[in-house]
Symmetry: C2
């Protein structure tokens, strides 16, 4: 393999796929790309790639195929159902990496379809990625890969070419496990992208200076990767540059909620985020950067008549914003870990992935391991850290101030409800209740 | 009393107060009115009332005072704290009816303030009303009155003059009980006003003819008083006439959620409605009729790219809308009854009030008595009626279709989450689970 690198076909040369495919070209592979958008093919050819005019033509005689289209519908079309779909031309025993973010249900169904179509010889790897276009082009993505041992063995070199060595997660559980892993990470993403807008929108209504307040937040236990990452664009009057459109996170959000319904597993936080995302879409914000959702929170400022909060100085106002964010992050963490447990994922691996990726938060770092202990039936104690009652009290004060200022706090309000439920379940407990116990709402 | 009708002072001549006060004039009482808005005083004088320039002047030498200002803050000002407040001039042993909708906490605090201020002689009646301006002027309001036996005895004739005899509810529990009763009714109002917009907005995205679909809904088990009442204005392109502004229901909604937090009682449905109301306020819809919130659901129609639902004909689309509405109404009913139980109200009386008032729905009529049985620890069976699992399945299909159409369904989504929680609690139950069991989420 080191001497004669195998030929690769690459279907789907969008923002991510283009970077991934050109990286493989740079690494010395002969890559034949396909996309429906001719200018992209021309660009790919200019970087040294070969091109094909149909998926079938692209995959012909190549033992490896990477598919990086946008949706499950597109994957179904280019692999199985569309004109000149790949399937009939895929060589016997070919390795197929589906890197698109799709529902677990889809990729498991794809595996079954291959069997029914008498193409069980194809080695399918379910390998969604995360990390953005720049890391795609660098070959330093995070990849969560599931499949048979044989398929993973065959495809490992490709996974390694595309990923950061520390961020290649081989997920136990076969095809679908990679998609489930990515989905659970996206629970954090879906909630924490919106939390950034909700938190900074609340700060705006409180009258805080957003630049200095947000720097304080980033240094505090209310830090989250998404808040820090979205901050410059939230503060830009035009929410530019567009780094990740609302439609992107909405697609992932809908995968979470539909898979959760399929499992009869409640995802109250993500459901709430999804409704707000739909409202943003209805406002025409779909193509805009997701940081622009702060508009949904700030648009009423100064136009809703006289309102007066109780917080009198910047310190107490900042404390309210942080309490709101911590409240959301705690419930996001609990929803993520509980859902990962339901999906039979290795919770230590989920934690490691999330804490080192876009789902990271200081709350996840602190409380996540405790939630995982609870999920395993181990005992935990509140120790010296903040208890759930104090946490709830601080969140409640934030929600009350938001009510006085007449600003919506969709996620914060939902988080308080869930925290109240958790405290009711724990009413018989002696002494203080640890924060991780909020996860009892999700059946942990 | 029949021969010499007592003099009445009346503070607060807004839309409701003006009608109530002029009705008392028509009934032959000498009524002295006060309001901060001079043109209103002139109008009141023209109908035969007397007028005063301060609260203190209005109440002087009158054994009865009705206070019908808009908020607790205003009540505190005109009765206790403001310039020329009523308190110092109220005769010894006067009867004071506070008819404003205020938090229970406020009116109970007012009772304490009177004691501390050595005016425990004043007979305070907590008597919020409902029914709108027309019924105020007719003397056929619904009134929910709490107070000491002595105060209620003294004030009964006034309560009777202002109310429909079938809709005067003397609520056990002293001062505060009337406010709690009204608050619990408003849980239904807060949710079902928004449900009307959410349901018809969903119908619009489904492509249903809204006129015929809504007539079908009104005839069905998805009927609610609020839907029928708001319908003409939802269908009017300008949402006219303004019968009840968004700011009005938002005020009541915030009373519910703040009182619920004070009791550490979760109100997930009303919390959700409140956030959407705040978003409407931020859009500048505060003074508009609350039926105009349908705009928050329909604004994206046709502008969010290609979407396609699964429902193929009008019958199946209508079934989805009805399932959405029933799902919301069931959780509204459970939240209402559970909160009423927490407030130690007589649940039969709550039911009688709600079913005959603006909170009524076909679901409340059917399932409400079963929830009340559960609240009393009585056994219920699913019998021949629909079970919770089937109810949840139908609601889930509606939520899934809304997701395909990319339309927000804030209340429906929350209702599904709560129904899922309830089914988890009931997972050990043998056989079918009755719909009323959804109330277990609220600790019933």
């Amino acid at each position: 393999m080191a001497d004669a690198k195998p030929e690769i076909s690459f279907i789907g040369l969008g923002a991510m796929g283009f970077g991934m495919a050109t990286n493989l070209v740079k690494q010395g592979y002969k890559v034949t790309g396909f996309d429906v958008w001719q200018p992209t093919l021309d660009r790919f050819q200019a970087t040294g790639g070969s091109i094909a005019t149909t998926p079938a033509e692209a995959v012909k005689d190549k033992d490896y195929c990477v598919c990086m289209v946008a949706t499950a519908q597109q994957a179904q079309s280019v692999i199985i159902e569309g004109d000149n779909a790949a399937l009939s031309s895929l060589p016997k025993g070919a390795t197929l990496l589906l890197c698109s973010t799709v529902p677990c249900a889809y990729v498991q169904g794809l595996e079954k379809q291959l069997t029914y179509l008498e193409r069980g010889d194809i080695r399918l790897i379910d390998a969604p990625v995360s990390g953005g276009a720049a890391r795609a082009a660098d070959g330093t993505l995070s990849i969560m890969a599931g499949g048979s041992d044989e398929a993973l063995e065959k495809g490992r070199f490709l996974l390694q070419e595309m990923s950061d060595p520390k961020k290649l997660y081989i997920v136990q559980g076969g095809v679908g496990a990679g998609s489930n892993m990515k989905m659970c990470h996206q629970v954090l993403a879906a909630n924490q992208i919106l939390a950034a807008s909700e938190g900074l929108g609340f700060a705006s209504h409180l009258g805080l200076d957003l630049h200095s307040a947000s720097q304080e937040i980033i240094k505090s236990d209310a830090w989250a990767w998404m808040f820090e990452n979205r901050l410059p664009r939230m503060l830009d009057p035009e929410f530019k540059p567009v780094a990740s459109a609302l439609t992107i996170i909405l697609k992932d959000t809908s995968i979470i909620t539909s898979e959760a319904r399929r499992a009869a597993f409640p995802t109250p936080m993500t459901n709430t985020a999804e409704q707000v995302y739909f409202s943003g879409l209805g406002r025409g914000y779909g193509p805009d950067d997701d940081s622009s959702l702060i508009r949904l929170y700030t648009e009423g400022k100064g136009k809703i008549g006289p309102v007066k909060g109780l917080a009198e100085n910047d310190e107490s106002k900042l404390a309210l914003v942080k309490a709101l964010l911590r409240g959301i992050y705690l419930c996001s963490a609990a929803e993520t870990i509980a859902f990962a447990k339901r999906c039979n994922l290795d919770l230590d691996q989920v934690f490691e992935l999330c804490i080192n990726a876009a789902g990271g938060s200081a709350i996840l770092q602190t409380v996540g391991p405790e939630i995982i202990k609870l999920a395993r039936g181990e005992q935990i104690s509140v120790g010296d850290s903040q208890g759930l009652k104090e946490h709830a009290q601080q969140l409640q004060e934030a929600i009350e101030e938001a009510q006085r200022l007449k600003v919506p706090v969709y996620l914060g309000s939902q988080a308080l409800t869930l925290t109240q439920f958790a405290l009711q379940f724990s009413s018989e407990a002696v002494g203080n209740v640890p924060r991780a116990a909020v996860a009892r709402v999700w059946g942990i």
